[in-house]
Symmetry: C2
Subunit: 169 residues, 2 copies
């Protein structure tokens, strides 16, 4: 009986936490909620966009990292990639180095081959600025994302590679 009550209490606790968390999280027009704890995912690679004056880091959850490391295509369902972009500045004490300045946006690709069949098997989302404003007016915004990713269709619509690092892990 005590175990039963404990289980119910724990479940209610988890439910309450989940609801509170979800309430704070922005939602893209295709229903994608800003993923939790993505900032702690493993770094895949940095990138730099001189045309936009952006510097970026691409992160992946465990499923995405494993697929990249092992060259698995298509990516398995559950793989999620995140790309955080900042404007750049010259390091104040070392101006030959270009580093992040202000937050620009964070973008996601969430793999679910059935759910997102119309956009290459990927759910796209972008959250912009310090308000993390969801990009797009309706779910069709994701077709724009897919359009830009079409040049890498043969790589399952993913631009980023796993960059080489030698030696023991």
């Amino acid at each position: 009986m005590r175990t039963g009550m404990l289980a119910v209490t724990v479940m209610l606790g988890i439910l309450a936490t989940g609801l509170a968390g979800a309430a704070e999280r922005p939602v893209a027009p295709n229903g994608i909620v800003l993923p939790e704890r993505y900032r702690g995912w493993q770094a895949i690679a940095p990138s730099y966009r001189p045309d936009k004056d952006h510097i970026r880091v691409i992160l992946g959850n465990e499923t995405a990292v494993k697929a990249l490391q092992e060259g698995i295509r298509p990516f398995p369902d559950g793989a999620v990639l995140a790309k955080i972009a900042w404007t750049t500045r010259k390091h104040p004490k070392f101006p030959v180095a270009v580093e992040p300045d202000k937050f620009v946006q964070v973008e996601f690709m969430i793999r679910d081959g059935a759910k997102y069949r119309e956009t290459g098997g990927w759910g796209f989302a972008r959250f912009v600025g310090n308000e993390l404003k969801p990009y797009g007016k309706d779910p069709s915004f994701a077709l724009e994302c897919l359009g830009c990713h079409t040049p890498v269709k043969e790589n399952d619509y993913v631009f980023t590679s796993w960059p080489p690092v030698p030696g023991p892990r």
Copy 2:
């Protein structure tokens, strides 16, 4: 008795694994062994060095990340920062994006205020190229590292900041 034998077997197994692992790992002239599993540490920030044509990602273990997030200075003992550098290339399918090409080196700063008192409380190490060749001929190489980091002495010799990311974690 069976439990005892199991424990011994497990311990010998761990010992053997540890020795095999250590044997493969390069050692800097100041005794710093290439840290294990650093590639999985959390991403702190990307950086770009147009003067060297390098793109980089700076990673940190939990102690280092916490200190950066919370502005703790000096860094506590046990904090370790890693910086991986690659040469750059234009993305073959999207040439406005600059991404990693070939591995250049990986560098470390390991905090131990007493052990590394002569180099600002930090143990420095650099492993270069696909052979991960330790940089420096003798332990004095670390004075060169310290020299370059002196402009950020007031930030405990660390160049990298925790870049802003808004919203819930």
